[in-house]
Amino acid sequence: MRRLPRVRPELLGLAVIGGIVVLGVPTVTNQFVTFEFAKVAIFAIALMGLNLLTGYSGQISLGNGAFMAVGGYTTAILVQRTGIPYWTTIPVAALVAGGFGFVIGIPALRLTGVYLALATFALALSVPPVLNHYDTFTGGHGGIVMPAVLPPFSLDLSQEQWLYYMDSGIALLLFVFAWGVVRSRTGRAFMAIRDSETAATASGISLAYYKTLAFGLSAAYAGVAGSLLAIATSYLNPDTFGLSLSLALLVGVVIGGLGLDFGAVFGSLFVVWLPYYAEKASGLHIGALSFAGKPDIFYGALLIVILFFAPNGAAGLLQRAWRWYLHRRTAVRSPLPEPVAER
C-alpha cells in the first residue's frame, strides 16, 4: 500500500487560507473587482497553457493570443449561430483550439529558438486582419455580441459572482490537470526536451510527438481561456486578440515564474491588475507627459528587471522564501543537509 505523502502543516494552513480567500472574494468586493478577479482566473488558464509550452517544454510562443482567438470565436460563433447553451461550447473551444495548436506544432517541430519566436510572432500579428477579412463568419470589425450569462438554477448570485465562481472552478480543475501532466511521464519528457533536445532524443523521447503535444495542450488551455473570456465579456472583436495580448501572456508567464506551478496564478494577477493600476497612475507626470493608460512601458521595464533580478519570477521568489523558512526550521532542531533543489 502506498503511503500518502506527508503534507507540512504550514502548507495545509496556507491552502485553507487560500481557499477561504478565493471563495470569499466576491462576497466582500464590488462587482467591478469581482469581474476583474474572474478575468484573473481566465488569464491564469491561458498562462498555465503557455507555461506548459514555454516554461516546461522550452518552446517560446508569441502566438498564444491567436489560440485564444480560436477558442473565443468558436464559442461566440456557436452560441450566435446555433443558440446552444454557452457552457457546452467550452470543451468544443478547447478541442478546436487544441487541434489548431497541434497543426501549428507540426511546422514548429523544425523551428527552434529564434525561428520559432519569429513564426509565432507572425502568427500573433496576422490573426486580427484574417479575422477582419472573413467577416461573414466573424462579424469583422463589428465583432460578435452574445447574450449575457445568467447564474443557473436560480442561484442567488450576481452575474459577476457567477462568472467568478465558474471561471475559478474551471481554472482549479485545469491547474490540477497541469500539475498532474508535469509530474507524469509526459511532463518529464517536456522538461528533458527543454533542457537538451539532443539528450532527450538519445534517451528515446520522440521530439515530434512531445513537441506537437505540448503545442496542442497549450493551445487547448488558451482555447478554454478565450472561450471563457468571450462568455465573460459577452462580446469579442478581432482587436481583442492582437499582438499586445500575446505579449501580455508572455510577460505574465515570465513575471509569474517560468516552469513553476504557481507562476500562472501570480502572472495572471499581474496581467489583469497592472493595466488598472497603470490607469490609476494618471497622477504620474514627467513634464507634460502623462503615464495614464500606458501599461506597456511598465510591462517592458518590469519584464527586464524581473529577468535580471529574479529569473524565476514571483513563484521563484516565494519558493526561495519557503526553502529558507524550511531551512531555518530544520536547522534549529537538527542540522540537516540542505534540501536538494528540484531542478
Binding site: 511546422p107 513564426a119 486582419p129 484574417v130 499582438l243 502623462s290 500606458k294 512601458i297 521595464a301
Partner: protein
C-alpha cells in the same frame, strides 16, 4: 501584362524598405544569434526624432537625417552597453524576452511623447510619377531604392575593407580567440547594435513618407523584414536585400491578384516565413547550420 510588371516594379520599391530593416536584423543576428524584436520600434522612435527635428527645430530633411543617424547609433550602443551586456551568456529565450521588453518600452515611450495620432512626414524625395516605357515609376521609390543600395555598399565596404569590420566579423565567429588577439569583443557587439539601430532608423525615415507616421507603423514592416531575413538566410546581408525585394514583390502581387489580399498580407508574411524554414531552413544565401554535440 503591363499591369503585372507595374506591380512587380512597385513591389521592388517597397521591398527596398523591408530590405533595409532586414539588414538591421541580420547585423544583430550575426553579432549575437538573437533576433531583435525591438528593431522596428527603435526605428520608429528614431523616425519620430527626425520628425521633431524637422517640424519643431526647422532642420531640413538631410541634416535631420544625419543627426538622427548619429543619435540612433548612440542609442544602439547604449542599449547594448547598459542592458544587453548584463545578459551575456543567458539562454536565447531570455535574450528574446529582453528584446520584447525593449519592444514594448520603445512603443510605449514613443506613444507617450508623440501620441497616437497619425502624422504626415515630409520625406527627402518628392512623390512625382515618372513615365518610363509605359511603366510608371515614382521618384520616391527610386530614391528609397538608391538609399538602400548605397547603405548596402557602405556596409559591404565596412565589413570587408576596414579593420573594425574585420574585428566585428572575427568577434562574432570566434569570440574567445578574438579576445586573445586583442579584439574588444564587448565593444564589437555594441558596434553591431549601433549599426543595426542606424540602419533601422534609415528604413524608418524612408518608409514614413509613404505610410503615415505613428508608433505602430513598423510592426507589419518588421514581420516582412523577418520574412525577408529568413528568406535570404538570416546571416547574409546581401541575402536580406534580395529577400526584401522578393518579399516586396510577393506582397504587391498578393495585394493585387488575391481577393481581399490587402487584409491577408500579414498572413502571407507568416506563410513565407514558415514555408522557407520548412523547405530551406538556411535561406537562399545562408550556410546550413551544423551543430556539434
Amino acid at each position: 501584362m503591363l499591369a503585372f510588371i507595374q506591380q512587380i516594379v512597385s513591389g521592388i520599391a517597397t521591398g527596398g524598405i523591408y530590405a533595409s530593416l532586414a539588414l538591421g536584423l541580420v547585423l544583430i543576428y550575426r553579432a549575437m544569434d538573437v533576433a531583435n524584436f525591438a528593431q522596428g520600434e527603435m526605428a520608429t522612435f528614431s523616425t519620430f526624432i527626425s520628425y521633431s527635428l524637422i517640424e519643431y527645430a526647422h532642420f531640413d530633411f538631410w541634416s535631420a537625417f544625419v543627426v538622427t543617424i548619429l543619435v540612433s547609433f548612440g542609442l544602439g550602443v547604449a542599449i547594448e552597453r547598459l542592458l544587453i551586456r548584463r545578459f551575456e551568456g543567458a539562454p536565447v529565450l531570455t535574450l528574446l524576452i529582453v528584446t520584447l521588453g525593449l519592444f514594448t518600452i520603445f512603443n510605449g515611450v514613443t506613444g507617450l511623447i508623440w501620441g497616437y495620432v497619425f502624422k504626415a512626414y515630409r520625406g527627402a524625395f518628392p512623390s512625382t510619377p515618372v513615365q518610363f516605357g509605359g511603366l510608371y515609376l515614382n521618384t520616391q521609390d527610386l530614391g528609397v531604392f538608391a538609399v538602400v543600395l548605397v547603405m548596402l555598399l557602405l556596409l559591404y565596404l565596412f565589413f570587408s575593407r576596414t579593420k573594425a569590420g574585420l574585428a566585428m566579423r572575427a568577434a562574432s565567429l570566434y569570440p574567445d580567440s578574438s579576445r586573445l588577439l586583442g579584439v574588444r569583443v564587448g565593444w564589437m557587439l555594441a558596434l553591431g547594435w549601433g549599426l543595426a539601430s542606424t540602419v533601422g532608423a534609415v528604413s524608418g525615415m524612408l518608409v514614413a513618407p509613404i505610410i503615415f507616421l505613428d508608433p505602430n507603423m513598423m510592426q507589419a514592416i518588421l514581420l516582412f523584414a523577418f520574412a525577408a531575413a529568413v528568406l535570404g538566410g538570416i546571416e547574409s546581408p546581401l541575402g536580406a536585400v534580395i529577400g526584401g525585394v522578393a518579399v516586396g514583390i510577393v506582397m504587391a502581387l498578393v495585394g493585387t491578384y488575391i481577393p481581399g489580399g490587402q487584409d491577408l498580407r500579414l498572413a502571407f508574411g507568416l506563410v513565407v516565413i514558415v514555408v522557407v524554414l520548412l523547405v530551406r531552413p538556411a535561406g537562399l544565401f545562408g550556410r546550413a547550420a551544423v551543430k556539434r554535440v
